[in-house]
């Protein structure tokens, strides 16, 4: 049988071959359940991996081009020092732009801790200046030295100290997501192989009859392979739909949210989980084909 014919038989089936194996049995339910459960978990692992990838990208790309200048000074000197700092920044090569945060913006930054009613104007807070890097960026060491000399009390924070471990953590989480997907695929292949072996053992008498009448192993195998592949496809499709509904019901990502509230799929990302049933069917196809070959070789 050519590969094309095998593929056509797999997709469209051979009515007689479909009927030679009794349709009932616990292996059918086991395969559907295993594929469904694994697909459900795979959706979440995929969602986690994609979210971690987005966070990693944002932290490593977007925040890498931003820095904060913090100016601590008595209230009566704050305006002068802020203007001086902005002047220094405007003259520094590699700084695209810089601006002092307004009192409202500074209040918003503190709101998660102190609430929205905080009277910022009564507090002696440092003035924050947002610095956006150009490409290529500025010389941080040189800028710090100049600020130290011209704007006493100004501290340049390029976020690198806390950004680096967070980016590393996000990347590790992304990798963990993909490893989870691989493990889920492996576990599904194992379960389907066990179910296929059980089905082949339970139907040893049928295999004996088929051999008696001249059936070749590929014919016998195709009856089992097609059935298990379609069961895995159906189970995984159901699991994927349930998983996607679960992801949709998660809290949506907010501006302040990071990985915990950004687990959903974004835009074209919703297409990716739809590949899970196809991959599950391919895993089942490979696992059952291998199990059938091995089992049929061992049967007399």
């Amino acid at each position: 049988m050519s590969r094309g014919l095998m593929l056509r038989t797999l997709i469209f089936g051979d009515d007689q071959a479909n009927r030679i194996v009794p349709p009932s049995g616990y292996t059918a339910r086991l395969t559907i359940f295993a594929a469904g459960a694994m697909a459900f978990l795979a959706v979440f692992a995929l969602s986690l991996s994609l979210a971690a990838g987005r966070v990693s990208h944002r932290w490593s790309q977007e925040l890498a081009q931003a820095a904060t200048l913090r100016i601590s000074a008595p209230a009566d000197q704050m305006a002068d020092l802020t203007a001086k700092a902005l002047q220094v920044l405007s003259q520094t090569p590699g700084v695209a732009r810089a601006r002092a945060l307004s009192a409202e913006e500074q209040s918003a930054l503190l709101a998660p801790w102190f609430g929205n009613e905080l009277p910022v104007e009564n507090l002696s807070l440092p003035q924050l200046v947002e610095v956006i890097e150009d490409d290529p960026g500025y010389d941080a060491t040189g800028l710090r030295l100049r600020l130290e000399a011209e704007v006493p009390g100004a501290v340049l924070d390029d976020h690198d100290r806390w950004r680096r471990p967070l980016v590393a953590a996000a990347r590790a989480l992304k990798l963990l997501g993909w490893v989870s997907i691989l493990l889920i695929g492996g576990a599904m292949a194992t379960m389907i192989t066990l179910a296929a072996n059980a089905a082949l053992s339970a139907n040893a008498q049928i295999i004996s009859v088929l051999r008696l009448v001249g059936a070749q192993d590929r014919y016998i195998a195709s009856a089992f392979v097609r059935r298990f592949t379609l069961r895995a496809l159906a189970g995984a499709a159901a699991g994927t739909v349930l998983g996607m509904v679960g992801v949709m019901l998660l809290p949506s990502a907010s501006a302040e949210g990071s990985i915990l509230t950004g687990l959903g799929f974004h835009g074209g990302g919703w297409i990716l989980p739809l590949l899970i049933p196809v991959l599950a069917a391919l895993v089942a196809l490979g696992a059952t084909t291998q199990a059938a070959r091995t089992r049929l070789r061992s049967l007399p």
């Binding site: 071959a17 009927r19 009859v209 088929l210 008696l212 001249g214 070749q216 192993d217 014919y219």
Partner: protein, 231 residues
């Protein structure tokens, strides 16, 4: 299909089972169009000998050839193709119990990818020939012993094989049904098929000898002997 001199040949075949010889030094040639009975006491090795002829068992010593090919040289696919030329009727019939009788009889066509050709058109005629037209849609467990044997015979001849091996085909049926099955096998022999029937029913052998030339082979003491004169 090529014309071969001998359908099946066993040359100095031995078969060991449980550490001892069940068959030893067995040599026999089944020529095209001949009719054989294989007799011997229960456990003598009749079923084993038939299984050796189909390649279901492999000899410990010697060679088994079917249509000129040494079965030990054939791979699994080769053996499967060979079995399409050998119709086998087991005493327990061996059906797929979840499929109707007609589909069981047509099974050899299905597994060989010939379900749509002219052989399939002959299915109804074949079912009628074995007298099972009214039972075509029944499931095998619903059939009587005689009906099961006739269905098994119909399945065995579905691919128009050159040889039919029947293992105790009348073991579970009454005398009248034995005669009916014998008539079907005699008809097949007259069509040129080689027939081998393993049985310990001497009356069946006598009934066959009354109407057709047969050769009776007897397994005794692990060896195969010609026993026609004694019957």
């Amino acid at each position: 299909m090529e014309r071969v001199k001998n359908v099946i040949e066993l040359e100095n075949v031995a078969y060991t089972y449980g550490g001892g010889y069940l068959l030893s030094g067995v040599s026999v040639v089944l020529a095209p169009g001949t009719f054989h009975f294989l007799t011997g006491p229960s456990g003598a090795g009749k079923t084993t000998l038939l299984s050796l002829c189909t390649g279901a068992l492999h000899p410990s010593e010697g060679a088994v050839r079917a249509f000129g090919a040494d079965l030990s040289t054939l791979d699994r696919d080769g053996l499967a193709l060979m079995r399409r030329r050998i119709g086998m009727v087991h005493q327990d019939c061996r059906f797929l119990d979840h499929l109707p009788v007609a589909e069981n009889i047509a099974l050899p066509l299905a597994v060989s990818g010939r379900a749509g050709d002219t052989a399939a058109a002959n299915l109804r005629e074949l079912i009628a020939w074995v007298g099972l037209s009214h039972r075509a849609n029944a499931l095998p467990p619903e059939l009587s012993g005689g009906e099961r044997q006739r269905a098994a015979l119909a399945r065995a001849v579905m691919m128009s094989p050159d040889v039919i091996l029947a293992d105790e085909p009348t073991g579970n049926v009454d005398w009248e049904m034995s005669q009916r099955l014998l008539q079907l096998l005699v008809e097949l022999n007259r069509m040129g098929k080689t027939i081998v029937i393993a049985t310990h029913d001497l009356n069946l052998i006598r009934a066959a000898k009354a109407q057709i030339q047969t050769r009776v082979l007897r397994i005794a003491g692990r060896r195969l002997q010609l026993a026609g004169a004694a019957l």
